[in-house]
């Protein structure tokens, strides 16, 4: 599905100095797989996700999605950012419509209602973003990212700004959506629990420039109980891999 090989990203700081963010990343993600990228700040997780989304280009190496090189944003890749990034001048309905402009108006309207039902916000279709809570706004962003029925959904710390209760609720919600739509999920997170709850495989990134340090498989049945001993074992392994213990 997604193949990354020898991917390196360097930035020019404007004064002629080059700063490396990623160094020779090799990664393969399968169809319908859920992968979490975890690592401390500055290890290049978000940069890697932005390159996969097509918003940034790699300096070296290659990246293909279903065999095609990724050279820019693609219709079959949905992205949810750290902040909801809703257009403040558009209602919830019109924010979701942004992802559906290539459809006929009637098809857009039907799809919007379905999507808002999926994220539990159909009563808020006419609300402006400023009238929503943080969790609701992020659910609208998820609905917008799922609008084009992407084969890959990229999540860049989408729940990091939310309180812990809302975060747990939305993690369950994402699990339900993933089970229903079976998109390939790539999640960047700082939250180890979130990575274990949502993913089949955890990629631990470390260093500056960022490299893949370790991969851990999450062989637990869903839904995953945070209090289960197996859950705690994986969590401890991730903590050790991150060198946080």
């Amino acid at each position: 599905m997604l193949q990354i090989s020898g991917l390196t990203k360097r930035y020019d700081d404007g004064a002629g100095l080059r700063h490396s963010a990623l160094d020779r990343i090799d990664l393969a993600v399968g169809e319908h797989e859920a992968v979490a990228l975890v690592g401390t700040s500055g290890c290049g997780k978000t940069t890697l996700l932005r390159i996969v989304s097509g918003l940034e280009q790699a300096s070296d190496g290659w990246l293909t999605l279903r065999g095609d090189p990724v050279t820019g944003p693609r219709r079959d890749v949905g992205v949810v950012f750290q902040e909801p990034r809703l257009m403040p001048w558009l209602t919830v309905r019109e924010n979701v419509r942004l992802a559906l402009l290539d459809l006929a108006r009637a098809a857009q309207d039907t799809a919007i209602i379905d999507l808002l039902q999926d994220v539990g916000l159909v009563d808020f279709a006419e609300a402006l973003p400023r009238q929503l809570s943080g969790g609701m706004a992020q659910r609208v962003a998820i609905a917008r990212a799922l609008a084009r029925k992407p084969s890959v959904l990229l999540l860049d710390e989408p729940l990091s700004a939310l309180d812990s209760f809302t975060r747990v609720k939305l993690q369950d919600h994402l699990n339900t959506l993933w089970k229903k739509s079976r998109f390939t999920l790539i999640l960047v997170t700082h939250d180890i629990d979130e990575a274990i709850v949502l993913s089949d495989r955890i990629i631990v990134m470390r260093g500056q420039p960022g490299r893949i340090y370790r991969e851990l498989s999450v062989d637990l049945t869903r839904p995953r109980r945070r209090t289960a001993p197996e859950f705690q074992t994986i969590k401890e392994e991730v903590i050790r891999a991150l060198d946080l213990s």
Binding site: G54, L55, R85, M87, L98, F124, L128, R130, Q131
Partner: protein, 280 residues
């Protein structure tokens, strides 16, 4: 607060029309003009100002009444308003297209912006001889001069608004595969709207300034011509009456723009909208 509570509150707010905020009391804006009028009348009554230099408010009101009953004033007002409206529409239309193109396309900006920035520095009156030569002394040259005055503030504000659009919102457009037209229409121009409205207000104010220059350069009708007529015939009350009419017309047209802008910017969640809601 859960989603259900929030939905109920939203429905109640919409039912009661509370989402738009309170309108500020209008009478406060009349306090200063009323005070100035009082001081002006007092200074004239105590002969600090002599009538040949500065006529009293009463004399100006009498002159306005005389011009109105003579049947001339209405025609002058209509002609001036028409010139400003046409010049404003033309200047705004061109500035919007050029501003959006320069704001969106770096290449268009590289070609056009340096020249426009240089032309911005040309004083308005410097265009007059050229426009008379090109368009004659009738309506076209006057409307063109006003359009030039309107163009620059609208263009500059729209450009600044588009260029300061949050990169993160533009990225949303990119990941959702918006084409250039949709990106400009649905993200860049709405994001630039607060600046654009400021530009429209500044452009309209300049439109009123330029119409005077246009009417002084050779007209047989209009408020600018009325002022010139007052000067030629030695009637300061006519000049002051025309000045007051310009101020009223400028204020009324600006208030219309502000009202339209308030509707278009109802989504804003800034300090001014918070003040409007609380009445503070």
């Amino acid at each position: 607060m859960n989603d259900g509570d929030r939905a109920g509150i939203l429905r109640a707010m919409r039912r009661n029309g509370l989402t738009g905020g309170k309108r500020p009391p209008q009478w406060r804006g009349l306090v200063l003009p009323a005070l100035l009028l009082l001081v002006w009348q007092t200074l004239c009554a105590s002969e600090v100002f002599t009538p040949d230099v500065m006529p009293s408010p009463v004399a100006v009101a009498t002159e306005l009444l005389r011009l109105w009953t003579k049947g001339r004033l209405f025609g002058d007002i209509v002609v001036t308003v028409e010139r400003v409206a046409l010049g404003f529409l033309l200047g705004t239309a061109v500035a919007t297209v050029v501003g959006a193109a320069v704001g969106y396309s770096r290449r268009a900006g590289e070609y056009l912006d340096p020249t426009l920035q240089a032309l911005k520095a040309v004083p308005s009156l410097a265009w007059v001889p050229l426009f008379i030569l090109w368009f004659g002394i009738f309506e076209v040259s006057k409307v063109a001069l006003i359009a030039v005055g309107v163009f620059f503030p609208v263009y500059l504000n729209l450009l600044a608004g588009i260029r300061s659009t949050d990169r993160k919102l533009v990225e949303v457009g990119r990941v959702n595969a918006l084409g250039s037209f949709d990106l400009v229409k649905r993200i860049l121009v709405p994001a630039a709207l607060p600046n654009y409205v400021t530009g429209l207000r500044a452009g309209l104010a300049l439109g009123w300034m330029f119409v005077i220059a246009a009417e002084l350069m050779g007209a047989s009708k209009g408020l600018g011509f009325l002022m010139l007529d007052g000067q030629m015939t030695g009637r300061p009350a006519t000049i002051v009456a025309a000045l007051i009419l310009f101020a009223i017309a400028g204020k009324v047209s600006d208030a219309l723009l502000v009202a339209a802008g308030r509707r278009a910017l109802a989504w804003q969640d800034d300090f001014a909208s918070a003040q409007a809601k609380t009445g503070a």
